[in-house]
């Protein structure tokens, strides 16, 4: 049961500021995922919350109490490190019990907590082993188990799955999701590079970039309504196609002419003054479809590369613009390099961004 409130949190290492004022409200029991490119400050933000790094400016509150100067232990947090950070010379049991022995908990209580965590994570058979006698996945579960035994208010994970192979990642990801369901009221903050982890685990995703928060929202919100170009291109794989475009007509719907494409209507309203302005038109690869034979579609171009992934086919199209256009077509599409094709997209699937990179919001189309 813990709420977190970050207000203008800054962190500088010497003269280098890494976090430039982070504002964030995290509700009790929420699963929040931090994503962002490498070096954007995800780990730093997590370590600031943990109390491993001093806060240079702003305040951090847990359950309404300012904890800027509070030791990690008193904050009631537990952290799972990317490198597991297990004590190499202690058995699995001792690894989990070590932090508990100082709290006034009795021996029996410690034992009960350790065994319960071990049962939950299915590491009971390994309690007497040393970390080096475990596989990577088992070690990761011990690290999670150690965090669980502390019965924390807030759980912090720093890329906990990045050292595991693909199959184990999926399995452990599902276990973490199950764990969160089982631990009602425990707030979890999770750092990852992996979009799938972010999309599947998060109640809300925080997109960080260069020490700023770009957008906070539910996974589908970020996917469907990105606030800016950065989020639009960061969420979704392959990344959204973004083309320079010019506004040709304003009004209830806006007509734009993308580079290398045909004139198209986007269902967003723009003021008359916006005419002839340079904007960006965004369209996700999966929103592009093959135009019916003979139709002109939105984009027309020569196929430069075809990648068949089984359930989808990725097609790269040279439309005469700067970058090739990527399309993600369902199934096995019989296309060959060098053929000319046309692609189209539903108007609702088009995103418009101003020259400053901010989204020009789509009108609510639900009523229609």
């Amino acid at each position: 049961m813990a709420t977190l409130k970050l207000t203008g949190v800054r962190k500088a290492y010497g003269a280098v500021e890494v976090l430039h004022g982070i504002d964030l409200d995290i509700r009790s029991g929420e699963f929040v995922v931090f994503v962002g490119p490498s070096g954007c400050g995800k780990s730093t933000l997590l370590r600031v919350i943990a109390g491993l790094e001093d806060i240079t400016g702003g305040t951090l509150e847990i359950d309404g109490e300012v904890v800027n100067a509070m030791s990690p232990k008193r904050r009631g947090i537990a952290m799972v490190f990317q490198s597991y950070a297990l004590y190499p010379h202690m058995s699995v049991y001792d690894n989990m019990a070590f932090g508990l022995t100082l709290e006034k908990a009795g021996k029996a209580e410690i034992d009960r907590r350790v065994r319960e965590a071990a049962r939950l994570l299915q590491i009971e058979p390994y309690l007497d082993r040393l970390p080096k006698q475990l596989s990577g996945g088992q070690r990761q579960r011990v690290a999670i188990g150690r965090a669980i035994t502390r019965d924390p208010r807030v759980f912090l994970f720093d890329e906990p799955l990045s050292n595991l192979d693909a199959a184990l990642r999926v399995q452990t990801r599902i276990e973490i999701a199950r764990l969160h369901e089982g631990m009602e009221g425990t707030t979890m903050i999770y750092v990852t590079h992996d979009q799938v982890e972010a999309m599947t685990l998060a109640d809300r995703i925080v997109v960080l970039n260069k020490g700023h928060v770009e957008q906070v929202g539910s996974p589908m919100e970020l996917y469907a309504r990105p606030d800016n170009l950065f989020v639009a291109q960061f969420i979704g794989s392959p990344a959204m196609n973004v083309l320079p475009a010019t506004i040709e007509a304003t009004g209830e719907t806006t007509r734009v002419k993308p580079q290398g494409g045909a004139l198209v209507s986007v269902p967003v309203s723009t003021p008359t003054a916006a005419i002839r302005q340079a904007v960006h038109l965004g369209v996700r690869p999966e929103d592009l479809t093959l135009a019916p034979a003979g139709g002109d579609g939105l984009f027309r171009g020569v196929v430069t590369l075809v990648e068949k992934l089984g359930e989808v086919t990725l097609v790269y199209l040279d439309t005469g613009g700067e970058k090739p256009l990527t399309a993600k077509l369902a199934g096995d599409v019989p296309l060959e390099r060098g053929t000319t094709i046309a692609l189209s997209a539903r108007p609702e699937a088009l995103h418009l961004f101003g020259s400053d990179g901010r989204a020009i919001r789509q009108r609510m189309r639900l009523a229609a």
Binding site: G51, A78, A85, H89, L102
Partner: protein
């Protein structure tokens, strides 16, 4: 293959047994040949500089050799070690190294010096290493500076300290007197009560950096993240030191201690220069050197050297065995 490995070790051994003759064929023979070839130069050098002198020393300890006449040595059995001389009137006396009070004094001096100085050096070295492992501005410079005492040749530092500890002109007495710790000058290196401590002080000054560096190397192998984990767990730093740091650097400390102990048991130059002709500090090596080259009791000195070698070999064996056992138990 993995199944065979985990569930049925006997089968695996059987497989190996079958595979071994085949493996031992041309390839492994060739490997063994080249291994010996690479080892040969080192073995020759070792035989010349270590095995041969050692064998000679052991041989001379069973003879009546003198420095002038090494080739005319005759075998005399254990006489240099222990011999009962019957005076014919019902009385008699034991002679030889094992009955020599001065020798046992030297053994005691050496062991006492070794235990005390290595103990102090280990504790101080550990403290230094912990400090040098913490990040602070100018750490690189301090790390290098700490090594200076170790880099000075023992003879030089012994002479330097001998002057500093001089009873009339020494700076040490001067300083202690001016702050009022002592009333009269002390003859640090000459007086029987202080001589051994003078030696220990200089040795500690000189070799603590070596200890610190060996232990620092061990400390740097400890992953930093487990300290962060301990911090989050809220474990008290003192407990972290005893339960996490110390167990993890114990192998490094054990190696450092045996290195230093072997060195200290052989101590010669420091004592020879700092406290010459002082029976309170005379070490086994000094005893052997005196007999070998000063008293013209070459065979007797050889016996002392041989005994010293035995003591060191025994301590090393016992120590390695004990340390291994403990390490094995801890894993």
């Amino acid at each position: 293959m993995a199944q065979v490995h985990s569930s049925a070790p006997p089968t695996r051994h059987a497989l190996q047994a079958v595979a071994r003759p085949a493996l031992k064929s041309e390839l492994s023979r060739q490997r063994r040949r080249s291994a010996w070839l690479f080892l040969a130069p080192m073995l020759v050098v070792l035989a010349l500089v270590a095995a041969w002198p050692l064998a000679r020393t052991i041989w001379f300890s069973f003879t009546d050799a003198s420095l002038d006449d090494l080739s005319g040595a005759h075998f005399v059995g254990l006489r240099n070690y222990l011999e009962y001389v019957d005076y014919g009137d019902g009385t008699g006396e034991y002679f030889g190294l094992l009955a020599d009070g001065e020798w046992w004094g030297a053994v005691w001096n050496t062991v006492r010096y070794t235990v005390i100085s290595v103990a102090i050096e280990t504790v101080l070295g550990l403290v230094f290493a912990l400090v040098l492992n913490a990040p602070f501005p100018g750490r690189g410079l301090v790390r290098a500076a700490v090594l200076i005492p170790w880099a000075i040749p023992t003879i030089v530092s012994a002479k330097m300290w001998a002057w500093m500890m001089n009873d009339q002109f020494g700076i040490l007495n001067d300083m202690l007197q001016s702050i009022g710790v002592i009333a009269h000058p002390i003859a640090w290196t000459a007086s029987p009560e202080t001589a051994i401590w003078a030696v220990i002080i200089v040795d500690v000054w000189k070799t603590t950096p070596f200890m610190a560096l060996l232990i620092l190397a061990g400390l740097q192998m400890v992953p930093g993240d487990i300290y962060e984990a301990a911090k989050i767990d809220g474990v008290h730093p003192v407990k972290v030191f005893w339960r996490v740091t110390l167990p993890l650097i114990r192998p490094a400390i054990l190696v450092a201690v045996i290195f230093r102990a072997l060195d200290a048991l052989r101590v010669f130059d420091l004592i020879y220069v700092l406290t010459p002709n002082n029976s309170q500090t005379k070490s086994m090596s000094v005893f052997a050197q005196e007999n070998l080259f000063q008293f013209d009791k070459f065979a007797y000195g050889s016996a002392a050297s041989t005994f010293l070698f035995l003591v060191i070999a025994m301590i090393t064996l016992v120590y390695i065995k004990a340390a291994r056992l403990e390490l094995g138990g801890g894993r």
